[in-house]
């Protein structure tokens, strides 16, 4: 059944290259539903029993003389549930987003093919093969943005990640001479440590953990929105899938641990996660370009997942996976909403936007819900995941990480309000704007759906996770449908919801007691100055956090790109030195030949 899906994906990708964009969108939409069907069918007939499919019913692909083993496992099922729904939604969204068909749908289908491949691959070669497929198909989507920084940084970082993973894989292959993932258990010592470390760094590049995140702001802010929604929502989760696979499912943690016992290595991952959450949030607050702001906020939120994996206790991992699930959806909503705003007004800068709430009510509502989930307001599922992470940090008494995580959480309020106020509220300077086309709104609200389900039943999400965790040998934490119980405290989401409804009654009574009259925008208090006299500029959102910027900027100044710039220049002067060897005179070359001859003879005869 899987090979049919793979074949259809490739065929569809080729077809959509040549078809008009509306038709291409429809084809892409239906084809991208197929992997989801595979998921549901797997869930239905195997049920949630933990069956680790043996090698025999793996699906085999013969490629250039090599066989690839593919099969659905509980872990990949959970991550697939998080990533694959994004594709049909993005196809639906971009039905009316693109004016002409320049290969967007085809490349998205290729990325879907590669993502599905990564999730299903059961041996290191196919994992690496699909991982590379993913990086070049997404590179071609980045390539459409025609921006030098985005193209170069994305390709270089992807290839660096690929080589890191390849380095790890060949060591593992060499140690126990079998490429199957399930055989990595019996590796240890220095080689094992180097292998696992390089694989984790490889995956960390795509998971946008702080020191390796330099490519993200360029790419997120230059490519077209539907792709960036997938990039930040889905692709980063693949990075975390890899980390989870190698750290927990395949006991990478123990390999790291028993090599250097005194240092707890996964704590390092937590520290990097905390740094990336903290600094990315602070930088996000000071951004004026909407897409850059969303990019840094995405890096910040992903930092939480890294912290969860870093802490490593079952509680932390559950929190991290829950956060990954939420992040996939609310970040996709935010980027798609930014796309709608740009589609309608053609502007990116927050200072140029403003007052779109009344003109685009549905977009505003979807963004509002996503922002609430992002800022972890208690009535949303975002809070449940962050709460689990906080609990885990306190349980492990990580004194350095816990405050940074909490401050990053509070920082999330600041930039989320900057988006709301700057783009949707305040003075409306775009009168001609009307609501986004139907397909885009539908896409947004489909994405809002899963967030709502887990608002009321966080416990349900932990049931979804149970098979994945058990497969990795981590027992799930106690939870009922509504409440999550940990050794430190209990979080009962339904209690919060009901009390909020009840507490809403007095507010509603006050609201309804007196009639109120809605006035226009002009009737604002401007120290008595009548608005229509000389129409003062009323949008307070440009350079919104000026005092904070004045205080924070000196500390945030040398960004990550500064260091990568230095490396780039280093290579540049080395290559200049090398180029000087080719002087361009034939006699030099002739001398080189003779010298080479003497060198070889000397080497052979005397040594």
């Amino acid at each position: 059944m899987l090979d049919i899906i793979f074949a259809e994906l490739v065929v569809a990708a080729i077809i959509t290259f040549f078809v008009r964009e509306k038709l291409a969108a429809i084809i892409a939409f239906f084809i991208s539903l197929l992997p989801l069907l595979a998921l549901l069918d797997w869930a239905s007939n195997y049920g949630f029993a933990i069956i680790n499919l043996g090698i025999e019913n793996h699906m085999k692909i013969y490629l250039a003389g090599v066989t690839l083993h593919l099969a659905i496992t509980p872990l990949s099922w959970f991550f697939a549930l998080m990533i694959l729904p994004l594709f049909p939604v993005i196809m639906l969204y971009s039905y009316s987003f693109f004016k002409e068909n320049d290969g967007f749908f085809a490349l998205m289908l290729l990325s879907l093919f590669a993502t599905f491949g990564i999730l299903l691959s059961r041996d290191m070669l196919s994992l690496f093969l699909f991982w590379e497929m993913m990086s070049w198909s997404s590179f071609l989507l980045v390539y459409r943005s025609k921006d030098k920084n985005a193209i170069m940084s994305y390709l270089i970082f992807s290839v660096f990640a690929a080589f890191a993973i390849l380095f790890g894989i060949i060591i593992l292959w060499h140690e126990n001479s079998s490429l199957l993932l399930s055989d990595i258990l019996n590796i240890s010592g220095k080689l094992g440590f180097v292998a696992i470390a390089s694989i984790i760094t490889g995956f960390a590049v795509k998971a946008v953990i702080m020191p390796l995140h330099a490519w993200a702001p360029f790419v997120y802010s230059k490519c077209d929105e539907p792709f960036v929604a997938f990039l930040s929502g889905g692709l980063s989760k693949l990075g975390y899938y890899g980390i989870f696979l190698f750290l927990f499912s395949l006991k990478g943690v123990d390999i790291l641990q028993n090599y250097m016992t005194n240092v707890s290595w996964n704590y390092l991952l937590a520290v990097f996660g905390a740094l990336s959450a903290f600094f990315a949030t602070l930088i996000a607050i000071l951004q004026d370009d909407l897409r850059k702001l969303l990019a840094y906020s995405s890096i910040g939120q992903l930092g939480y997942i890294a912290i969860g994996f870093g802490i490593g206790t079952p509680l932390a991992i559950t929190g991290a996976l829950f956060q990954a699930f939420n992040h996939a959806f609310f970040k996709a909503i935010l980027f798609l909403a930014a796309g709608i705003v740009a589609y309608r007004t053609g502007k990116w800068k927050i200072s140029e936007l403003g007052g779109l709430a009344y003109k685009m009510p549905f977009t505003f509502m979807a963004t509002l819900f996503a922002i609430f989930a992002l800022a972890a307001i208690p009535i949303t599922s975002g809070f449940a995941s962050k709460w689990l992470l906080y609990e885990a940090a306190i349980q492990q008494k990580y004194v350095f990480i816990a405050p940074i995580m909490l401050i990053a959480g509070v920082g999330a309020f600041l930039y989320s309000f900057r988006i709301l106020y700057g783009v949707f509220l305040g003075e409306n300077r775009h009168d001609s704007v009307e609501e986004a086309p139907k397909s885009m709104i539908a896409a947004l609200f489909i994405l809002v759906l899963p967030l709502i389900i887990f608002v009321v039943f966080p416990g349900y999400m932990l049931d979804l996770m149970k098979p994945a965790l058990q497969a990795a040998g981590i027992e799930s934490i106690a939870h009922t449908k509504f409440a999550i119980e940990t050794s430190l405290a209990k979080y009962n989401s339904i209690a919060v919801l009901i009390t909020l409804m009840v507490a809403m009654i007095p507010a509603f009574v006050i609201y309804k007691a007196r009639k109120h009259r809605v006035t226009s925008f002009e009737d604002n208090y401007l120290a008595g100055e009548p608005y229509e006299l000389h129409k003062p500029a009323m949008h307070a959102a440009n350079n919104y956090y000026k005092p904070l910027k004045k205080v924070l900027l000196p500390y945030l100044e040398p960004g990550a790109t500064y260091y990568f710039e230095k490396i780039y220049n280093g290579i540049k002067c080395v290559s200049n030195a090398v180029r000087r060897i080719y002087t361009g005179y034939v006699q030099d070359y002739a001398i080189y030949v003779v010298l080479f001859l003497l060198f070889v003879m000397g080497w052979l005869i005397w040594i």
Partner: protein, 318 residues
């Protein structure tokens, strides 16, 4: 829980909601009296705030700026009532067994986010700038407060407020957190953060009447301003109760059958003391600029809180 139990619980919740509001308004009135006395003035009667709220709610015309503006009213009162009910008040655990300190910390954010939306929807630039200052203030005072919170949690190895109160009230005042030296420092830092949370004078930058025409509240009038006053009152009670629960054992002194009454009185007294302290600080300090406030919290307060955190960490590890 059977029907009767639920019914009792609901009545207790409603009772405490009303008590919270009334004490809040009462304290604000008394607070204005204290400030007046500091200014060597007669000052308004202590029930002045009740009158103000009654007047605001009885305004004939109320001007609003659309449905997002009304969100402010709905979110503010419901959000802060929710926070109040998740705090153990005077030893009585209302709903605090279902949630914990992080939940309360984030619940405090619902009303302020509702206000921010309402102020933003009004379109007045003063409101926008006011909300920006409120959020920067929040970011600044959260750091010391969060560090002290974590210090407490690590020491008592729990995050739920109910258990913290229980562990602090084992043998009365001696077991209060503030009696232990590291927590004295933490209490000082948390009290400064409390000053910011209550938006009292040195840190009432977001609602500065002279610079930005009372910040976010520029377009609020009539019932909207009334709901704001109610929110301010309940918030006062909630935030001070949070401080009391964390450091002063939630006011739980006695454990007998009449313990309920004694604890309630002790809780009231503690809250009033805290509020009076912050009012006195307010009466004697000019308003800070926003960068100064941010610097104050993130440099000095954070260091103090960090010292207490490390001290507690060492104690806990040993």
């Amino acid at each position: 829980m059977d029907m009767i139990g639920i019914a009792i619980k609901i009545t207790i919740l409603i009772a405490y909601a009303i008590i919270g509001t009334c004490t809040g308004l009462l304290f604000m009135g008394i607070g204005r009296k204290i400030v007046a006395r500091v200014h060597n003035r007669v000052g308004p009667p202590f029930y002045q705030n009740f009158i103000d709220v009654a007047k605001l709610l009885s305004k004939k015309t109320n001007i609003s700026h659309g449905w997002i503006f009304d969100l402010a009213l709905l979110f503010s009162i419901s959000g802060i009532l929710l926070t109040l009910l998740f705090l153990p008040i005077g030893g009585v655990q209302l709903l605090s067994t279902d949630g914990d300190a992080f939940l309360v910390l984030y619940l405090l954010a619902i009303p302020s986010l509702g206000f921010a939306l309402g102020a933003g929807a009004s379109g007045n630039p003063n409101a926008g700038v006011g909300v920006m200052r409120a959020l920067v203030m929040m970011l600044s005072y959260e750091l010391p407060f969060v560090i002290t919170l974590i210090a407490l949690m690590i020491y008592y190895d729990t995050t739920s407020l109910a258990t913290i109160v229980r562990m602090q009230s084992i043998n009365g005042i001696k077991s209060w957190a503030i009696t232990m030296p590291p927590f004295m420092i933490a209490a000082f830092a948390a009290d400064m953060a409390l000053q910011g949370m209550l938006m009292e004078q040195p840190f009432d930058i977001p609602v500065a009447p002279h610079e930005i025409a009372s910040g976010p509240m520029v377009e609020f009038g009539g019932k909207y301003l009334g709901s704001l006053m109610l929110y301010k009152a309940i918030a006062l009670v909630a935030e001070t109760t949070l401080f009391v629960d964390l450091f002063l054992g939630g006011g739980v002194v006695a454990h007998g059958n009449f313990a309920f009454v004694i604890n309630f009185i002790v809780w009231l007294a503690l809250i009033f003391l805290l509020f009076a302290l912050s009012i006195l600080i307010a009466a004697s300090f000019p308003r800070f600029r926003i960068e100064q406030a941010f610097g104050f919290y993130w440099k000095y307060e954070a260091i103090i809180a960090a010292i207490s955190l490390i001290w507690v960490y060492i104690m806990v590890i040993k």
